[in-house]
Amino acid sequence: MGFIDTLWEWVAVIVGIVVVGGGLVLGLMRGRGGRSATLPRTGDTGGIPDASEVRPSDRPGGIDTLPRPDATDIAEAEPDAGVVDAPPASAPTIERPEAPAGRLQRLRARLARSNSVLGKGLLALLAGGRLDEATWEEVEETLIGADLGVEASTQVVDALRARVAAAGSTDEATMRGWLRAELLALVDPSMDRSIADSRVDGRPACILVVGVNGVGKTTTVGKLARVLVAQDKDVVLGAADTFRAAAADQLQTWGERVGVPTIRSDRDGADPAAVAFDAVSAAAEFEADVVLIDTAGRLHTKVGLMDELGKVKRVIEKKSPIDEVLLVLDATTGQNGLRQAAAFTEAVEVTGIVLTKLDGTAKGGIVVAVQREVGVPVKLIGLGEGPDDLAPFDPVAFVDALVD
């Protein structure tokens, strides 16, 4: 008992101290007005991440911003004759990927499969004839169930209710039209969804791909490279994911299949900013159209890692402006996707979203919330594991797949 008592007491002291510290700090800050703003930012404790947030591999020389401290081997495209003799779909020669234009049509079935519950369920409810309170609630719940978020769902339901109240008609065709219009308004077809895919001002366009762990960044980079190759672009890949084991190998293999060079470090744990810089330099040298840079997955709450990402961006910008920052979001992500988008936007100014794994049970409704709150459009969607299952996001086709 005595022990617990004292243990508790000193815990109280700590908490007390925290309060004290906070009080002091806030008090002083207020007392001194805005003076702290003019101080040079050196050796601050707030900005520097604590050690636990810095990945071990970054520690040696992690602060070094000098470009390329290490040799990188430029993997030229070589046909790589049958090293891998895998049973299905092995690719000994450079492949000719499918053109992106018709992709969404082909993938429509898959999209519909994932979303059928949403569209069909909604229509069944709405066209059922009687629209009472319980039905509206169910409609709202169906939308929430798609991770649309409470706010957007309520908005759609309210809009539909208003239309029904005004027109009084509830036959299926009308309802379908209204639902389509509302959902379309939700995904906002007016946003610019083009990707920076050709040379800008006589230099290669630079695309940086970011996201949290396990959303499929490397795969997206590989697939996007195929999309660009299909459009006859010269592409260079930069494997700036130096943290995850074998990530660079994975990217390199993607590149080799379509004859695209991959710039990588020859060892794990190299400075990702240096690799990115090399990639951009190499792309300029090769006079490529686009350079795609893959980064390591990082949770948006890890200050140290987000700072690292900021550094990657700054270092790249020494060589060339970044034209596109794509945030990869897993379609299964819930409301946390919003925070991810906000955090990454703050760190590196995200310009577009890639929604992956949309072929599963997830509806990916979170992108609606992200578009609304963060103002970043969805540009690409991943609808399967095949190499050509990445399609440009087309709001109209997307909504049609939902409603039809």
Partner: protein
């Protein structure tokens, strides 16, 4: 920004004060708030419905209408129900009677299975087991290589007879969905068990490929792996960030591999983790571990009560305490305790020590964020600059050792010297000394057995964490009138943007001196804490 459920409920009930009992419409409004809070935390809809139904029943019962503060009572009910669903108590791994214990991992792509394999192996190795990792993910590009790297980091051998997919990209099956495997994972898993038996490893962890819930073929394959290796535990790994898809996914996996436990991945992010509730509630399987980082050590036993607080955004005092324990070293703590009990004066040396420890705990922002009720002052927390800590430290460092132990002896000329030495104005030094004097008073008051004003309800915390009996009755605040205090603090909060001037209430220790300090006092005020809070801390 979302405010915590307790805050929102408090607002709902504000108008009801003095009513004595709740009408049905009051309860309905409350239920709507709860529903919204849970949905925002990504709890799946069917689970929310079921949950709110149960809460409604209890809220309409005598429990609430009889309570002095209905809002707190409702939060308490919600919290209790959450903990009940999340598993009441934590469960650890069941080990087989005859070695080897076989553990199989399953989950969606990218949920963190391979990483978890390493963490689990590391944990078990630390407990004196000899784990073996089996690489049965032959689909994902380089998964086998990754497992080998992870195994190396954990210092655990990896059994990998097949190289798996080394082509660097997914390979699609004829059907156009799902990926093909390089080699047969069932054979590999079975061989892994044999290998473990022959080499006398006592735990085998089988890492399988990620699969989609709707991919019947792969799900059947997972079922075959399960049948072939007869695992003692099948762990379902799920991303804490997952949204409404959690239920369908969990159901599919329950049917496919009949998992026995759940591991929450990526809980170190800021996801509120409603998925945990969904999965636990839909499948009835306990959540056993939470993955909280990328290193092999970052695996924690799951705490249902903390998760409940997290879902409700109630702060996480227990984690705060654990961090504090890690940051403060034992001898320091013992010395502090001795001083404290002997009612010795708190000196600037102690202060420095504690500041260093707080810095070790991480940023002050994250620490404050973990305290209950801090949600409402999140903006203020965001706004302040942690470098101010350094300035305070500079002032203390500019004092002589004598001055540090005898703050009362610091006269005008000494103050001028300290100000010069640390590059601040004399008035800042004055302010520091003044507050420090208050702090000393507070410490003494604490040592005499009184609680901090605004910090009752916290005894038993330590005990709670260890699951021991609760310490004696010390919850009563000694300070005269807590309500008035809270009111003052609230007034201070209103002035928060204005400079503090000399408005600090002299009687209130410390906290309520400067404006924002007042907020903190308020945040810890018993009347602001949900009632259920002490209870779950104290159990």
């Amino acid at each position: 920004m979302f405010t915590s459920l307790s805050d929102r409920l408090a607002a709902t009930f504000k108008n009801l004060r003095g009513k004595g009992r709740l009408s049905e419409s009051d309860v309905n409004k409350t239920i709507r708030d709860i529903r919204l809070a849970l949905l925002e935390a990504d709890v799946a809809l069917p689970v929310v419905k079921d949950f709110t139904h149960r809460v409604r029943e209890r809220a309409l019962g005598a429990e609430v209408s009889g309570a002095l503060n209905p809002a707190q009572q409702v939060v308490k009910i919600v919290h209790e129900e959450l903990v009940a669903i999340l598993g009441g108590q934590t469960r650890t791994l069941r080990l087989a009677k005859t070695a080897p214990t076989v553990i199989m991992l399953a989950g969606l792509q990218g949920s963190g299975k391979t990483t978890l394999a390493g963490k689990l192996a590391y944990l078990l190795k630390g407990q004196g087991h000899t784990p073996l990792l089996v690489a049965a993910d032959l689909q994902r590009p380089n998964a086998v290589t990754q497992l080998e790297v992870v195994g190396e980091r954990a210092g655990v051998p990896v059994f990998a007879p097949e190289r798996g997919n080394i082509s660097g990209h997914d390979v699609v099956t004829g059907a156009g969905s799902g990926t093909a495997s390089y080699g047969d994972p069932v054979v590999v898993s079975r061989a892994g068990i044999e290998h473990a038996r022959a080499k006398q490893y006592d735990v085998v962890i089988v890492d399988t490929a990620g699969r989609l819930a709707i991919d019947t073929e792969l799900m059947a394959q997972a079922g075959r792996i399960r049948a072939a290796i007869e695992p003692d535990e099948v762990l379902f790994v799920i991303d804490a960030m997952i949204g409404q898809a959690a239920v369908e996914t969990a159901e599919a996996f329950l049917e496919g591999v009949d998992f026995t436990g759940v591991v929450l991945g990526k809980l170190d992010g800021d996801a509120r983790g409603g998925a945990a509730l969904s999965v636990a509630s839909v499948t009835g399987r306990p959540i056993m571990y939470a993955s909280v980082g990328e290193g092999v050590k970052d695996l924690e036993v799951f705490h249902p009560d903390r998760m409940a607080s997290r879902i409700l955004d109630m702060g996480d005092v227990l984690t705060l305490i654990e961090q504090a324990e890690r940051a403060f070293d034992k001898t320091q703590a013992a010395e502090m305790e001795r001083k404290f009990l002997a009612a010795e004066d708190f000196t600037f040396d102690d202060f420095l020590q504690q500041m260093a420890a707080i810095k070790k705990m991480g940023s002050l922002k994250s620490i404050l964020g973990m305290m209950p009720g801090m949600g409402q002052m999140r903006q203020q927390i965001e706004a302040f600059d942690e470098r101010e800590f350094d300035r305070v430290e500079a002032m203390v460092r500019s004092m002589t050792p004598f001055e540090r132990t005898h703050p009362k002896q610091i006269n005008g000329s000494r103050r001028a010297r300290i100000a010069k030495g640390s590059g601040v104005t004399t008035s800042e030094v004055n302010q520091l000394l003044e507050r420090f004097g208050d702090a000393q008073k507070m410490m003494k008051q604490l040592a005499r057995g009184g609680s901090l004003p605004g910090m009752p309800g916290m005894p038993g915390m330590g005990g709670g964490k260890r699951g021991r009996q609760q310490a004696p009755q010390r919850t009563k605040s000694k300070s005269g009138n807590p309500a008035k205090r809270a009111a003052e603090a609230r007034a201070a909060a209103a002035r928060a943007s204005a400079p503090p001037v000399g408005s600090a209430g002299s009687g209130a220790a410390f906290g309520s001196g400067p404006a924002a300090g007042g907020d903190q006092t308020q945040a810890l005020d018993p009347s602001q804490l949900p009632k259920g809070f002490e209870r779950f801390l104290g159990q």
